[in-house]
Amino acid sequence: MVSAIYILIAALGAAFFLGFLKDGMRATAFAVTLAALVFMNFVSAGWLWSFAVDAAAPVEILTAGFSPPFAINLRMGLTEASLTLLVSLSGLLSALYLKDVLLALGRRSMAVLLIAVMALCGIILTRDTFNLFVFFELASIATAGLVLLSEDERALSAGFKYMIVAQAISVFLLIGIIFSYHATGTLNIDGMADASTELKTGASIAFFLMFIAVVAELKPFPANGWALDIYESAHPAFSAIFSAASGAAFLYAADKLLHIGGAAWFPLATGIGIITFVAANLLALPQSNDRRLLGYSSIAQTGLVLAVLGQQDILGDRYLFVAGGLLLAHSIAKAGLYWLSGLIAGRALPDWAALRSRPLLIFAFIVFIAMLSGLPPFPGFYAKWELARLLAGDGRIALLALILFGALLEAGYLFRWFGYILKREQPAQPVVCTPHKLAPVIAAVAAGWALGYLWGDLSGHANLLLTVPLLFALSFLLLEWLPAWIKNTLAIAGMLAFFVLTYAEYDPLRLIFAVIILIGGPVIFLASYHEHGRRLGFYPAAMLMFAGLALLIRTGDSFGFFAAWELLTVGSYFLILRGKHSEPHALSYIVFSLGGAFLILAGFALAAQGAAQYDLASLGLLTQPLAPWVFMLLAIGFMTKTAAIGLHIWLPGAHGEAETDVSPMVSGILLKAGLFGLFVLLMSMGKQQLYGIELTHVLLWIGALSALLGNLMAIFEEDAKRLLAYSSIGQMGYAVFGLALMNHLGWLMALMFVINHYIYKSMLFLSAGGVAKRTGTRDMYRMGGLITLMPLSFIATLIGIIAVSGVPPLSGFGGRWIFYNAILTSDARLPMVVLFFAGPIAFLYLFRLIHTVFLGQLKDEHRKLKEAPFWIILPQMIFVVLLLVFAVVPGLALRRVDIYLNQFFPEGGLNWAGTTISSNYGYWNPVAIMIAVAVIFGSLFAWLLFVNRKAQKVKQFNIVFAGERPYRPETTHFAWNFFAPYRKALGFMVQPFVTRFWEGLTNLLHVAADLSRRLYNGNGQSYAFHFIAFVVVVHFLWTGV
C-alpha cells in the first residue's frame, strides 16, 4: 500500500515540477496535473479498499522521524480514505472539466488547483492543530486563486471578500490554537483530546475560538455572504470543488475539533448547523440565479451535516452512516449540478429548459435533486431515516421538526426548478456539450447510484435497489429507446406477472388493493397504446409509481412503507408533471406529498422509539401519551394523498391537467395509497384520544366536510376533468368517513368506495379525456350534442355517473346502501347530516357531464368529430362490463373482506345468502334491482321510441343572439355558469379560503426570505462585520445558555 503521505507529496511535487516547464508546454503541464490527480485518487482508493473490504486498521503516518507530539502525524482510516477520495476525485473531474480554461491560463493555474486539492486532503489527514491551520491557509490562498478561473469579472470582488473574511478567521484560529496549546501542552489533536479537561468544559474560550474559526469556513448563517458571492461568480467547476470537497474537508476538521472538545460542545455544532440549514433553505426560495441558488443549498446541506456532527452522542455507531450518507449525497449531487450549470448558457433558472434537448442530462438533474432531497434509493434517504429514528428515539423532536421543515423548503425550490426545466420555453442557446464536460456529470450520476446501492446494503433494511418492483421500474430507463407500444406491453405484462407470482401472499384486504394496482393498472395502460413515438420519460415515471404502490401494500415494516411511499410520490410527480399546463400543480402536489411523507416519517420515528426495526402491526401496542400524536402525524400524512379538505388544493390541477391516461392512474389508483395507509393505521391503532378529543371523530368531520365541499366545488367547475378531480375529493371524503366510523359496515363501505371509485373515476376520466382529445377543449360549455358522434363515450359516461351518484342499479347504490346501514349503527349525527347533503350535490355536477357534453346542440366546429380513439374507448368498455358485473355480484369482492373484517369488528357484518345481502336493518338484492330497473327502463325507452316515431327534426341555429352582441359569446351559452343560482346561495362555501391560506403562507415565506437576504449587501466589509458579530453573538448566547 502506498503511504498516504504520497497524496500530499504527489500534488506538491507535481505543482513544483510544473514550474520548470516552459509556458508553451501546456498540454504536457495538463497531463502532469491529471497524472498527479489520478495518482492521488489511486492512493486514496487503495486505502479505501483495504479499510472497507479487508477491514484494515487505521494507519498513523509519522513525519520528521518523531512520533507525536514532537512531530506532525497524519492518519489514514476509513473516513479519511473516503474523504480524500471524494476530494481528489472531484479535483480530478473538475480538472478534466476545466481543460480549456487551464490550457488557456497555463501551468500556474494548474499548480494552484493541485495545491487546493492537496490542502484539502491535508486538512483531512492531519492530526495536528497547527498543521490544520497551515492547510487551512493553503486552502484559502488556493481558493482565492481558483476563484479567478471564472470568466465572470465579478469573481474578482468575490475573491477579495473571501480573503477579508479568511483573514479574520485565521486570527481567531491562531489565537484559539495557541491558547489550547497553552492549556494542554500539545498541538496534537488526540493529545489535546486526552489531556484536556479544561477544553472539554464548554466554557473554554480557547476551544471556542478554534472551533468557531473552523465552523466559519463551513459558511454558517449569517456569516456566509462571501461564500454565496463565490458560488455565484466562480467557475462552476471550481464551485463543484468548493462545495463538494472543501465542504467535506472542513466538516471533517470540525469533527476533529469536536473530538477534542467532547460532548459539551455538541449542542453548539447542532445549533449553528440547524439554524444555517433552515435559514439558507429559506433564503434560497426567492433566488433566481442558478449558481447562487446552488450556493444557498450547499450552505444548507453543510449546515445539516454540522448539525449531525453535534448529534454523534445519540447516533452511536450509526454516526458515520448518517453523516456520511448526507455528506456524500450532497457532495456528489452538488458537484454534478455545478458541472451541469457550466453547460447552460443562461444564468436564470428557466434557462435550464435548454436541458430538454438532452434527455440524459435531465435524468442526471433528476438524480441530483433526488439525492439532495433525500429521496430513495439514494444515500441521503437512508441517512434521513436513521437520523429521524434516532432523534425521535431520544426525544429531540424540535430538531427533527426543523430538519424536516428545512428539507421540505429545499425540495420545494429544487422541484420548482425541475418544473421550469420541463415546462418553460427553451432558450435560444443550446446546451454546450463536450465529452470532457459531460464525463464528470456522468461520473457523478454513476457514483450516486453506486452509493445508493452501498447505503442500501449498509442500512440494515432491505436494499431498495434489490427489490423486484423497483428494479423493474428502473429497467425502463434502459429501454427508453424502444417505441411506446413495446414498452407498454412490457409494463402490462410485468405488472400482471407480478400479480400472478405474488397472488397468494395477500390477505383479503390487501388483495383488493393489489387487484386495483396490478390488474387495474394494466387496464388503464391499454389506453396508453394510443400514444405513438417513444414517449420519453413516461414509463420510468409510471412504473416507479406502480413499483411504489406494489411495495406499499406488500411491506410489513415502517421502513419499507415509508420508502414505498416516497417512491410512489416521486413517480406520480413525474407523471403529473407531464401534463401541458401542469407545472404549478405538480409543484404543489410534490410539496404537499413530501410534507405528508415527512409527517409519516416523523410518526414512524416517534412510534419506533429508537428501535431499528419497527413493524406496522406494533403501532397497536403504543400507549398514551405517545399514541395519539403518532396517530395524528400518520393520519395527516396519509390524508395529503387522499386530498382531505384543507390539504386538497393540489388535486384539481394535478388530476385535471394530467395527460389522458395519467389522470385515471393518479385518480383511480394513486389516491388509494392514502386510503390504504388509513386502513393500516386504523386497523392497528383504532380509536385514539388527544386531550379528550376522539381523533376518529375528527376524521369523521374531515371526511364529511371533504365530501360536502368537494362536491360543491365540483358543481361550479366548467372544466370536465377538473370537475371529476373535485369529485374525487368528495368521494375520498366518503371513504374517510366510512373508515372513521370504526365499525364493520363503515369499513366495508370505505372498501366499496375504493373499488367503485377506481372503476368509475378511471372510466369517466378516460371518456372526458377522449372527448377532450377530439374537441380540443375541456370546457364543457364549448361542447354539446356529442351523443350521436361519440356514442361509446356517452355510454361510458352515463354508466359512470349512474354509478357515482349511487342510484340503483349500479354498484354505487351498493356503496350507499352499506353506507346507510353503517351510519345507522353510529351515533355521529351531525357529520352524518353533512354527508347526507353532499349526496344530492353530486347529482348536480354529474348531470352536467351528460347534459352539457353529450346532449343539447352540437357545435358547428364539432360536426365532423369521430368517436374517441379505440385504445381510449377499450378500457372504458371493460370498465362498463366490470361495473355491471360488480353491481350484480358485489359479493365477488366484498364477501371475503366482510369475513376478514370480522376479526376487527365481530359485530354488524352482512349476511350473504344467495343473491341477497342482508344487514340488521334490511336487505339488498342486486340481481332483483338490476332486473327491475332494466324492465322499467326498457319499457319506458320503448314507449319513448314509439311516441317519437313521427317526430320532426328541428334544424340547429334557428335562434340567434336575440339582437345582443355579447362581450364574451361563450357566456351566452346556457351551460356557462350553469348553476349560477346555487352559486349565489352556496358560493360562500367554495371561496378558495384554503388556497388563499396556503398561498399566503408561501408568500409570507418568500417575502420573509426576500427581506432577510438583503443582509448580504455585497460589501466585503459588511461580511467581515457579519463574521465578527457572529462570533460575538454566538459566544454570548453560548456562555449565556
Binding site: 470582488s157 475573491g159 477579495f160 486570527v171 448580504y1016 455585497g1018 466585503g1020 466589509q1021
Partner: protein, 118 residues
C-alpha cells in the same frame, strides 16, 4: 512583562479589526489586517515565554540536558515563523487582488464592489 506583551498583542488585534471594519480603502484594510496579524504573532510569542529563561538555542551555554529547565517553550516561536510566512503570502495575494480590482474600476473603495449580493 509577558502580560504587557500579550495585552499589546490583543490591542493590536483589536486595532487591526477596527481598522479593517472602518476603512473602506482596500489598501488600508490590508494594512489593518497586517497589524492584526502582528498582534496575533505577539500573542503567540507571549504564550510561549517563560520568565527568567533564555532563547531556545542549544549551544555550549545551554546544553541539551539542561534545556528543559533553562529555555523558553520553542514551539510557539516555530509557529510564529510559519504564521509570518503564511501572513506574507496572504498579504501579497490581497495586494494583487487590490491591484486588479483597482484596474477594473479605478477605485479602491470596497463599497463600490457590491455587484454580487443577496
Amino acid at each position: 512583562m509577558i502580560y504587557i506583551a500579550m495585552a499589546t498583542g490583543f490591542l493590536l488585534i483589536l486595532i487591526g479589526f477596527y481598522g479593517a471594519l472602518t476603512n473602506r480603502n482596500l489598501l488600508r484594510m490590508i494594512v489593518a489586517f497586517s497589524i492584526a496579524d502582528t498582534g496575533v504573532n505577539l500573542v503567540i510569542i507571549s504564550v510561549g515565554y517563560l520568565p527568567g529563561r533564555t532563547a531556545p538555542i542549544l549551544d555550549t551555554t545551554v546544553t541539551a540536558a539542561a534545556a528543559a529547565t533553562r529555555i523558553i517553550d520553542p514551539v510557539p516561536q516555530a509557529l510564529v515563523l510559519t504564521a509570518i510566512v503564511i501572513g506574507v503570502g496572504i498579504t501579497a495575494l490581497m495586494l494583487a487582488y487590490a491591484l486588479k480590482l483597482y484596474e477594473k474600476k479605478r477605485t479602491l473603495d470596497i463599497a463600490k464592489f457590491t455587484e454580487l449580493k443577496w
